[in-house]
């Protein structure tokens, strides 16, 4: 096994373990901290797979911005903090369904003979990814930007409280 392969398996084990911990913690702050570990592992795996730009963006956007937003909302709302793990009985039905799906998926993955060959170590620079993103996928980029703008507008509409609504109504009346 090459050093890159060893790194991939190490971060895969770390990420999956942290994901299972996230799913079973009762305290939301602990769950979010484990989720940060999952996203850091996903970023490391992307770097090993030769995608430095998505890797850095995963660390900055997912592990940085989104998870801090989750922590901020937990603290803002004062969500109840239980302790320990959830009762395992609650996971019974979803875990059964997921296990069946995984068996089917692994059968599909294993049936492909070309999937056994080792991937070559390669790296794509940010400039090449940016070129293909804005050249071939400019429409998707525009769609995502419109989506982000719509989300921003909806968040501002939902986020203003009763006082904000009154100020807006008063502004219209005057």
């Amino acid at each position: 096994m090459t050093p890159l392969g060893a790194l991939f398996y190490l971060f895969a084990a770390l990420g999956l373990g942290a994901a299972v911990l996230t799913a079973t913690r009762r305290n939301p702050v602990h769950a979010v901290c484990c989720a940060v570990a999952v996203f850091l592992s996903v970023g490391a795996m992307l770097a090993v797979l030769g995608a430095p730009l998505p890797s850095v963006l995963t660390v900055v956007v997912y592990a940085g911005a989104i998870m801090v937003l989750f922590l901020f909302v937990i603290m803002l709302l004062g969500l109840p903090a239980g302790d320990g793990t959830l009762p395992p009985g609650r996971f019974l039905v979803p875990a059964t369904l997921a296990a069946a799906t995984l068996v089917a998926l692994f059968a599909l993955i294993g049936a492909d003979p070309t999937a056994k060959t080792l991937l070559p170590a390669a790296m794509a620079g940010p400039a090449a990814v940016g070129t293909i993103l804005f050249d071939k996928y400019w429409l998707a980029v525009e769609a995502v930007s419109i989506l982000l703008f719509a989300a921003l507008a909806a968040v501002m509409l939902l986020g203003r409280g009763k006082t904000g609504r009154k100020i807006a109504a008063g502004g219209r009346a005057a």
Binding site: P28, G50, A51, F91, L119, P120
Partner: protein
């Protein structure tokens, strides 16, 4: 040389399944959202591995587009949670059944 594509896809499938179980089993809106984020991250991992296997950059472009989608989803979901909580609700998914009622 690094790992075969089947192992990358297996890791992505496992992470997707854990996220799906989390989104289905948890009651708190916040942890359901984190489960959906796991599923999106697993899809991005599969895209990056496939991009390396077929030696083109479309997979990496897809990861960046998925990331934008996930940001919009997380922001809007958390705003809905704050809105529902302000209106006297809880963070339990079961209590979100009053769409359209002005609180």
């Amino acid at each position: 040389m690094i790992v075969p594509l089947s192992h990358v896809l297996a890791v992505a499938a496992l992470l997707f399944a854990v996220g799906g179980v989390m989104a289905a089993a948890r009651r708190s809106i916040l942890l359901i959202l984190i489960g959906v984020e796991f599923m999106l991250a697993a899809a991005g991992l599969a895209f990056a591995g496939a991009g390396l296997a077929w030696n083109n950059l479309d997979g990496q472009a897809a990861v960046i587009i998925i990331m934008g989608l996930a940001s919009a989803e997380a922001g809007l979901g958390l705003a809905l949670l704050v809105h529902g909580r302000r209106g006297g609700g809880t963070d339990r998914a079961d209590s979100y059944d009053r769409l359209g009622e002005e609180s």
